[in-house]
Assembly symmetry: C3
Amino acid sequence: MAAKLELHEDRLFPSSPAERAIARELYQSVQDLPIISPHGHTDPAWFALNEPFADPSSLLIVPDHYVLRMLYSQGVPLEALGVKRVDGASHETDMRKVWRLFAESYFLFAGTPSRMWLDWVFHEVFGLREILCAETADTYFDAIDAALRTDAFRPRALFERFGIETIATTEDPLDPLQHHAKLRDEGWGRKVITTFRPDNVLNPETPGFSGNLDRLGDITGCDTATYSGYLDALRNRRDFFRSHGATASDHGHPTAATFDLSEREAADLFACVRGGNASPEDAELFRGHMLMEMARMSQDDGLVMQIHPGACRNHNAPLWAAFGADKGGDIPMRTDYVSALQPLLNKFGNNPDFTLIVFTLDETSYARELAPLSGHYPAMRLGPAWWFHDSPEGMRRFREQTTETAGFYNTVGFNDDTRAFLSIPARHDVARRMDCGFLARLVAEHRIRPDEAFRIAEDLTCNLVRKAYRLG
Amino acid sequence: MAAKLELHEDRLFPSSPAERAIARELYQSVQDLPIISPHGHTDPAWFALNEPFADPSSLLIVPDHYVLRMLYSQGVPLEALGVKRVDGASHETDMRKVWRLFAESYFLFAGTPSRMWLDWVFHEVFGLREILCAETADTYFDAIDAALRTDAFRPRALFERFGIETIATTEDPLDPLQHHAKLRDEGWGRKVITTFRPDNVLNPETPGFSGNLDRLGDITGCDTATYSGYLDALRNRRDFFRSHGATASDHGHPTAATFDLSEREAADLFACVRGGNASPEDAELFRGHMLMEMARMSQDDGLVMQIHPGACRNHNAPLWAAFGADKGGDIPMRTDYVSALQPLLNKFGNNPDFTLIVFTLDETSYARELAPLSGHYPAMRLGPAWWFHDSPEGMRRFREQTTETAGFYNTVGFNDDTRAFLSIPARHDVARRMDCGFLARLVAEHRIRPDEAFRIAEDLTCNLVRKAYRLG
Amino acid sequence: MAAKLELHEDRLFPSSPAERAIARELYQSVQDLPIISPHGHTDPAWFALNEPFADPSSLLIVPDHYVLRMLYSQGVPLEALGVKRVDGASHETDMRKVWRLFAESYFLFAGTPSRMWLDWVFHEVFGLREILCAETADTYFDAIDAALRTDAFRPRALFERFGIETIATTEDPLDPLQHHAKLRDEGWGRKVITTFRPDNVLNPETPGFSGNLDRLGDITGCDTATYSGYLDALRNRRDFFRSHGATASDHGHPTAATFDLSEREAADLFACVRGGNASPEDAELFRGHMLMEMARMSQDDGLVMQIHPGACRNHNAPLWAAFGADKGGDIPMRTDYVSALQPLLNKFGNNPDFTLIVFTLDETSYARELAPLSGHYPAMRLGPAWWFHDSPEGMRRFREQTTETAGFYNTVGFNDDTRAFLSIPARHDVARRMDCGFLARLVAEHRIRPDEAFRIAEDLTCNLVRKAYRLG
């Protein structure tokens, strides 16, 4: 018989009795606060159209790059997990078979955040009470599949059940935002907002860059053959995004490099990249220059600027060729911030009305670079532990390595950064538990007072998020 | 009513009952040992002239770059904190207003070492018993201001009350050391000593470098137009500093680079930098060469050599232009030691009579580079957690990441490295508590015996400091 | 009187009562499992010839670079420790004197793994019950010396007593493997196996590289003047090693760089390095290319491939000149894996039948690079904490920083990597205790179930080792 699936009420709290008791009290004060999700990748169509989700595997396995990478690392072919090949060659389409394969490999996730998120989904969303393993695979599949066909499991119902106050999706400038328009018209405009993510029109190394700029011109009526027209088009789309709820932009460049070019240099560089003749150095220079321009536009229009650098995308070229992007083949890189951000911070970082939120995949930058920078520049805030580090140990390291220099008030609360909609409450729950555990240690070691800890726990959960992202 | 200000007797000790009990006993054995402060930035004039300190804000806020950076990061202008502008434009001169601004923002420091240091100063030095907040701002200001006007709060009285055995200040070679001369003449010569910090005559990128060398020539009677005269002048000033108590030199170059140039190459390079024609590469080469020369002179005259590399000074250029240096705008950088120190260590590192103490702002070098290097070369010792890492978590990481390779006996005890004189006991107290907590864990995990822990606690507090810095 | 030497039964377990109780139970389930040592540097002659070990100092001090480096760092000359000089100048030959010097400095090792390993050897192997110090030096020397003269302390007796199932030694391709042949003939062929370590014929910067290739040609009958003959010779020796038990190769290059050259480029490069004309860039390129060839051969012959990069060998040039290699003068370097391994992983990393085990001396790569890479590529596994990081804190950081992304099942259990034969059980014991302590924390924090922890503890101790190294 399969073991019982339990979510212990003290999970993730430190085992020291003194710390655990405090952590529990702190957590009780924030566990039911609304979920604010200012950065993520859910599909706005879910909320706009409110159609039922598909089968268990299509919902929980196929799109989850954390799940795919672990199974693939242990020799499970992506085809067998139902992932479509670029070349159209066959892949598993029997979603029950996919689920069984996942179930029998589920032990591999021991000690990973995916395991905690998924167990929460199984237990709390679907009411399952045995662990997932080969033996229970079909029970799970049937139970989840049946639930997904009911109205209670449609996106909007889950949204309300989860206690989400606001969720931000991420779209590129060429997106018509029709789902956000529908949501706005139906009174969901403050619940589901968009984020302006212009990588595909800022990064000359994006496949189809030139065509993207043509389309950007078509959409905006600006002449994107010229540098000034290009800037106008970007301003135009930022306004359009703002009218669809956006309070932030987001930038996922390979590095955090920023460059302060003259107007003339910028125009010349634009001409070069527009013509498709950008060398890798040109491309880097252009991206870095455009971060400066984005900061300048943020000063004007008030969009909060987020930078998420440091991922080596599609490290596994054969896998990328076979299955496309976002299948678990991205790898973090060592990332510099001190020199990279200096031009931008020197130009805009002293303005307390501008907000720049910086993330990292290189934890060595927490104590050495990012806490010192965000603990000094009025414009800069430090984003939470991200992606590979969005995990209990990752969050613990984040607080341990940033708090002493940046404090709590130069951080911005939690981002779930996910398209795995059903796991969003689990992810916020992990963050709340880890923050409360960290605060509990500070209280137990008499480094902060209990009343401060309660205040900070609430600030980390809601107030700092709303303030940093200009929500509500 | 404001909450009570308490300093818990178990603060900073691990919450695990077994570890806490051991930590408490270890701490009791070292808490009253004298303070030895072999590296810092207090003003020798304080001790020489023994004049009263000024008002609370001028003493505790305006000169504290940790305090300035946190408040500035949250949008408080430096002018409002009473910091003078370079251009002479107005700044707040009502020190009570400055104090109120600080008081209402004091919650920002939760979880930072500044908070622990300041609370200690408020509680132990000034006897305050309510927390600092907007409500208590005036009470605080009045109480501190009144105390500072009494003889019991003059520098020498506090020095004695704090139980300081020796404090080292830091001066550059052009300093006449008149305060140290007075102290020496009045019997305070072993209590307050100087440190030879020649950056402004070794680093060609120092503003005014050429003029500094002219003055160095004037002071010493050596011909600093020639390389040999320049070296003579440096030897001359080292002797002068030694006669004013110096047992150590200190070097704050951007990197730890050292270079082994021939006599001829060095002379040619000197001619180039002396003429003001140094490229950035020349400057780096010259600094690296001069570290070699400083090591050579240390072999001869016995000054302990300290290297503090890795700070990107004045990262915030506009702030630097407006307010000058040391206002919180310095940022750590990734720093290499393995290649950088190899020339120096190969030449002088095998000499057990020479001592080189190396510090870092890049914690990634602890386990990877600095513990292995100091755990091998007889001349090298590892300085304590520094600046941004002079904090409970920073000290914990230091011991966790260095002890297994370097042991305790290749470290040199604590440096407070501060000009915040009133907080010096608090800083040493934090270090003693964290060291005792670390040792307690090793005992509780049966990795060292209790008798060893007591011996090591005392060695870290006093014996290793005196030995490494050749004091007493 | 000297203090009592004790090995506490709970040593290294967390002090939190809840965690300690679980750790103890987990440990009891694995403490008596056989030792599998798939990577190390013991001398096969010991097991083949089974002659008694020499005196205590020659066995425990002179060959131990951890011991030498600590004593040397505190000013003890290597000559006084009985280490031979290259120039034949005198060194201490009275091994009792060497032992006394060691004994009086033994306190330096407090907090280091050497101390834990050695105390285990003293207590468990030799039955000593007082601590080692100046006072007990002679008692120790006499007791150990007497024991070593008995049959119970010959290598094979200790091998059996230690419960070793398999141990791998490391030899270079020019080694005749006569000891392994003898062992095989005497039925010890599965107990003591070799490992193919071809650095001295792959790395053009090896002293004597050209002569090594000549000898490789002589041994194999292949024409190592040509590139194809060179590859044939390597294949030939890999087969020879496999026939002497090898299941793995090992590569200790300065970096992890791999390069994908064309056949033609490779042949031209070989001609260049074969002729002794390799620049440093050529040498790096050739090493990186040969890692690709080794991977290709591993695909064919099934040898598991290990990469141990990132050591700056012989950092202390004067010491190296005086005493030769492996005297404690190697220092870790910052090491990149993301770009370095991309060519190899793109070519061979998607093959689940090929196994690449990667190690690091740069702990910053754990969470940022190595866990993400090994948590994705089916061929890649992550080797355990190595060398400077083969220690309680090092192991704790390894699990904390890798588990959330790579899980447990992309790791390969423990390597002792040592020539200090008597300490092998102690080293495995430390690893088992630390793994159980880590698992205990996950259980106590309700992140994994107890039944999982027991399974994982056993897998880490034996099953993952056997599987990864293709043993048994």
